[in-house]
C-alpha cells in the first residue's frame, strides 16, 4: 500500500471509530430516555455503567489521533481532519455524560409515577436524537451544509426547554408536592438542551474541518 493510501485508510478507520462512539452516545441517550419514561431503574443503571465504554473510547481515539499526527505528520486539510475528529470526540464524551445525568435523575424519582406525561421532554429527546443522527451523517459525509442546517433544530430544542422550565415553575407554585419531581425534570430538560448545544458544537467543527473557518452557531 502506498503511504498516502495507508494514511487515508488510517483516517477512515479513525472516522469509523468516532462514528461508533457517536452511536454509543445516541444509544445511551435513547436508553436514558426510555428508562426515564418507563421509570426503569435497571436500564438507568446500565446507562451509567455503559458510559465507561464511551469514556474509554474518547481516550483511545485521542491516542490514535496523536499517533497518526506523530507518524504521518499530516499538513493543511489532512491535519485539520484529525484535529476535528479529536474535538468532536471531546464533545461526544460530554454528551455521554449528559445521558448519564438523565439516568441518575431517573434513579432519584424512586419509581413514583409522573404527575403529567412527559410530552415536551420526550419531544426534546426525539429532536436531540434526530439531530445527533444527522450530525453523525454530516460528519461521515463531510457535509458542512447539513451540519449548518442543524441550527434550526437546536433553536426548537431551546424553545422547548424554555417552555418546560415555565411549566415546571407554574406547576411548583400550584402544587408543593410536585416540587422535587419538577426540579428533576427541569434538570433533565437542561441536560437535553446542553446535549443539543454539543451537537451544534460538533457542527461547528465539521464546518471547520471542511472549510478551515471557525463559525459560531450557538450565537
Amino acid at each position: 500500500m502506498k503511504p498516502r493510501e495507508q494514511y487515508m485508510e488510517s483516517l477512515r478507520q479513525l472516522k469509523n471509530e468516532i462514528m461508533k462512539m457517536g452511536i454509543l452516545v445516541e444509544e445511551a441517550l435513547s436508553k436514558a430516555m426510555k428508562a426515564l419514561t418507563e421509570l426503569d431503574s435497571d436500564l438507568a443503571e446500565s446507562v451509567i455503567t455503559e458510559d465507561m465504554m464511551i469514556n474509554r473510547m474518547e481516550i483511545e481515539i485521542e491516542d490514535r489521533s496523536i499517533a497518526l499526527i506523530a507518524t504521518e505528520q499530516p499538513v493543511a486539510g489532512d491535519l485539520r481532519h484529525v484535529i476535528t475528529g479529536m474535538r468532536i470526540v471531546t464533545q461526544l464524551e460530554r454528551m455521554g455524560d449528559h445521558a448519564v445525568h438523565i439516568a441518575k435523575s431517573t434513579l432519584r424519582f424512586e419509581c413514583k409515577a409522573f404527575k403529567k406525561p412527559l410530552i415536551d421532554i420526550s419531544k426534546m429527546a426525539e429532536l436531540c436524537i434526530s439531530m445527533h443522527r444527522e450530525v453523525l451523517s454530516a460528519f461521515m459525509d463531510e457535509d458542512e451544509i447539513r451540519a449548518r442546517n442543524l441550527v434550526d433544530l437546536d433553536d426548537e430544542v431551546d424553545s422547548l426547554h424554555e417552555k418546560v422550565q415555565r411549566d415546571m415553575f407554574t406547576g411548583m407554585v400550584e402544587d408543593e408536592s410536585f416540587l422535587s419531581q419538577a426540579l428533576q425534570l427541569t434538570y433533565i430538560s437542561r441536560y437535553l438542551e446542553r446535549f443539543a448545544d454539543h451537537i451544534t458544537n460538533i457542527s461547528e467543527w465539521i464546518i471547520y474541518g471542511k472549510t478551515g473557518n471557525h463559525v459560531d452557531l450557538n450565537g
Binding site: 477512515r12 469509523n16 452511536i23 409515577a113 453523525l136
Partner: protein, 584 residues
C-alpha cells in the same frame, strides 16, 4: 514506426556498419601489404641482376640493363663502401652526395639487406629503397640499391581502396534493406497479436487472431486463440456459478451483509437493503457502523473478525421501525494467499414480528390474570373479614358489601366484554342482522349512554357532519363501538372539554370519527392499544375503571362490518379514532 522499432533498426545499422568497416579495413591493409611485398621482391630481383653483371665486370650489359629498367621506373644505384655513388641508372653521379648515412645503406654495410621508404632529394619524390648486403668485387666493396616511386603503388592502392569502400556501402545498404524487410515480416504479425491480446484482456474473447506470417509466429497465434477459447468456457462456468449464488443470496428472506477486514460493506442482498431502507449505491464500500448505526452490531462484527468463531446475537436496531434482528456472524478465512484477508458475513433474521407476538402473548396472560384476580381477591378479602365477625357492625357491613358488589360488577363487566369479544370472533359476522340505519340516531343513543359520565366532568358531547347518512350495519354493535370510543374520550379528557363525533362520507365508506382534546397516545403504544388488556398507563386507566377490553371490542365490531379503524393522536393534544364502514 514506433520508438522501440527505431531503436532496433539503429542497432541493426550499427552492427552492419561495424562489420562492413572491419572487413573493408582488413581487406585494404592486406592488399597494401601484398603490394609492398611484391614491389620489394621486384626490386630485390633487379638488385640481383645488377650484382651478377657487376661481379662479372660486364659493364656494357649493366649499362644496357640500366637503360631497360628505367622504363619500369626502377632506379638502380651502386655505392662504394665509403658512401660515394659510383653508378646510377637515372641521375648523373656527379650531382649525388655521399650516401653512407642512408638507413638502407647503413644496414647493407653491416651485411643485412636494407629497406627504407623516404623522400628522395635527388628525385624530389617519395621512394621505396631496397639494398643488398655489401659484396666484395676485386679489392673494393660495393652496395647495390634499387628504388621505385611509391606514388604509383599508392595510386594503385587508392583505386582499390575506393572500390572496397564502394562495395562496403553497397553491402551496408543491401543488408539494411534486407533487415528492414525481414523485421517488418515479423513485426506486422506481432502487432496483430498485440491487438488480439488487448481484445482478450478487454473481455472480447470472440476475437479470432489470424496471422499469415512466419510459421513460428503462427504457432504463437494459434496458442493465443486456444487460450481465448479456454478462458471463455472457464469464464462462462464461473459466471454461471456466480449468478446462481447471487440468485440464491438475493432471494433469501434473511438479510446477508458481507464485510471486508475494515468492516466496510462489500456486498449485501435485497433483504439487507430493505432493513436499511437505502439504495445500494449509497451503501457499498461504506462502514458497517455508518450504515446500520448499531454499536451492538459493530461489536458483534468486531468480535467475529477477532475470534473467527461464529457468533449469534439478538440485536435491537434503533431505526425508524425498531427492528429486532437475530444476527449470525461468521468469519471467512482467505482462500489463498492473494486475497485481501478475512471477511465477515452477517446473516440477519428479522424476528420483530415473532418477538412482538411473543410479547403480546406474554402480556396477555399476565394482564388477564391480573385483571381477573384483583376483583376476586377484593371480594374474597371483604367477605372473609365479614365472616370473621365484623357482620355485627351494620355500618361496616354495608360498606364492605358495597365494595364487594362493586368488585363483582367489575368482574361481571370484564366477563361480559370477554364473552361479547368471543362471540364477535366466533361468528365473524355471520348470523348477525344487518339493516340500514341512520348514523346520527346511533350516535345519539351512544351519547345517551355516556351522558352521565360526561356530565360529571362537565364535558360537552357534540355531533357534526352529514347527519342524515345511513349505512348497512348492526345497530347494537355500532352503538356499542361508539359508546366505547366516546366513553374513552370522556375518560381521558380534562374537565370542561369537548368530545366531537363527526359523520362523513368517503367514497363507498361511511366515516364516524370521535375526537377528544385529551392526553393523547404515545407513538410506541399506538399499534398495541387494540390488544386485549393492553394499557398505555397501567395505573391510571385502571383507576378510571376500564376493563381493558373496550378498544379490542371496537376493533372486532369493525372487523365484522368489513370496515377499518384509524387512530390519529398527538401527545398532549388529543386523539381521533375514525371508524370506516361500507355504506352497503
Amino acid at each position: 514506426m514506433n520508438k522501440a522499432q527505431l531503436r532496433r533498426y539503429i542497432g541493426y545499422f550499427i552492427i552492419i556498419a561495424i562489420s562492413v568497416t572491419i572487413i573493408s579495413i582488413n581487406a585494404a591493409t592486406l592488399f597494401r601489404r601484398e603490394t609492398y611485398n611484391r614491389t620489394i621482391s621486384i626490386l630485390d630481383r633487379n638488385n640481383l641482376v645488377a650484382r651478377n653483371l657487376l661481379t662479372r665486370g660486364d659493364f656494357d650489359s649493366l649499362d644496357e640493363y640500366f637503360n631497360s629498367i628505367a622504363v619500369e621506373d626502377v632506379r638502380i644505384t651502386i655505392i662504394r663502401s665509403d658512401g660515394v655513388v659510383v653508378a646510377d641508372s637515372q641521375t648523373d653521379i656527379g650531382q649525388l652526395d655521399n650516401h653512407a648515412d642512408r638507413p638502407e645503406i647503413l644496414s647493407a654495410l653491416n651485411g643485412v639487406p636494407g629497406r627504407s621508404k623516404r623522400y628522395s632529394n635527388s628525385l624530389g619524390e617519395e621512394l621505396l629503397y631496397v639494398a643488398l648486403p655489401i659484396i666484395d668485387i676485386g679489392e673494393k666493396s660495393y652496395v647495390i640499391r634499387s628504388s621505385m616511386s611509391v606514388a604509383d603503388i599508392d595510386k594503385a592502392l587508392g583505386d582499390v581502396l575506393g572500390r572496397i569502400i564502394f562495395t562496403g556501402i553497397v553491402t551496408f545498404l543491401a543488408l539494411s534493406i534486407l533487415s528492414y524487410l525481414s523485421e517488418r515480416r515479423f513485426i506486422a504479425p506481432l502487432a496483430d497479436i498485440q491487438k488480439a491480446a488487448e481484445a482478450f484482456s478487454g473481455g472480447n474473447l470472440d476475437h479470432y487472431l489470424s496471422v499469415p506470417g512466419p510459421e513460428d509466429i503462427k504457432v504463437v497465434a494459434d496458442a493465443l486463440n486456444e487460450m481465448a477459447g479456454t478462458l471463455k468456457s472457464r469464464l462462462a462456468d464461473i459466471t454461471k456459478g456466480k449468478n446462481e449464488l447471487d440468485a440464491v443470496i438475493s432471494s433469501m428472506m434473511e438479510a446477508v451483509v458481507v464485510l471486508d477486514m475494515s468492516l466496510n460493506i462489500r456486498h449485501l442482498n435485497l433483504s439487507a437493503l430493505n432493513i436499511i431502507g437505502s439504495d445500494i449505491t449509497n451503501v457499498l464500500g461504506k462502514a458497517l457502523i455508518e450504515i446500520f448505526r448499531s454499536s451492538d452490531l459493530q461489536i458483534l462484527a468486531e468480535k467475529t473478525l477477532k475470534s473467527q468463531i461464529p457468533i449469534e446475537k439478538i440485536i435491537n436496531l434503533n431505526t425508524d421501525r425498531n427492528l429486532i434482528l437475530q444476527v449470525h456472524g461468521t468469519c471467512i478465512l482467505p482462500t489463498d494467499d492473494k486475497s485481501t484477508g478475512n471477511a465477515v458475513v452477517l446473516v440477519m433474521n428479522d424476528i420483530t414480528q415473532t418477538q412482538m407476538l411473543e410479547n403480546m402473548r406474554r402480556d396477555f396472560v399476565a394482564n388477564v390474570s391480573h385483571e381477573l384476580k384483583t376483583p376476586i381477591t377484593n371480594v374474597k378479602g371483604y367477605l372473609e373479614t365479614l365472616a370473621e365477625g365484623v357482620m355485627n357492625d351494620p355500618e361496616t357491613t354495608e360498606r364492605f358489601l358495597a365494595v364487594s358488589i362493586r368488585n363483582a360488577d367489575r368482574l361481571n363487566a370484564i366477563l361480559d366484554d370477554l364473552l361479547s369479544l368471543s362471540r364477535l370472533e366466533q361468528h365473524d359476522g355471520e348470523g348477525l342482522e344487518f339493516e340500514n340505519h341512520a348514523l346520527d340516531g346511533i350516535a345519539g343513543n351512544a351519547f345517551q349512554s355516556c351522558a352521565p359520565k360526561a356530565a360529571e366532568k362537565n364535558i360537552t358531547l357534540r355531533l357534526e357532519g352529514q347527519k342524515d347518512l345511513t349505512a348497512r350495519l348492526n345497530m347494537l354493535l355500532i352503538e356499542q363501538a361508539l359508546t366505547n370510543l366516546i366513553d374513552n374520550a370522556v375518560k381521558y379528557s380534562d374537565k370542561d372539554a369537548v368530545v366531537t363525533v363527526c359523520i362523513s362520507k368517503n367514497g363507498e365508506m361511511a366515516e364516524i370519527s370521535v375526537r377528544d382534546d385529551g392526553i393523547g397516545i404515545p407513538d410506541k403504544d399506538r399499534p398495541r392499544i387494540f390488544e386485549r388488556f393492553y394499557r398505555v398507563d397501567k395505573a391510571r386507566s385502571r383507576e378510571l375503571g376500564g376493563t381493558g377490553l373496550g378498544l379490542a371490542i371496537v376493533k372486532h365490531i369493525i372487523i365484522v362490518h368489513r370496515g377499518s379503524i384509524r387512530v390519529d393522536s398527538e401527545l398532549g393534544k388529543g386523539s381521533t379514532f375514525t371508524l370506516s364502514i361500507p355504506l352497503n
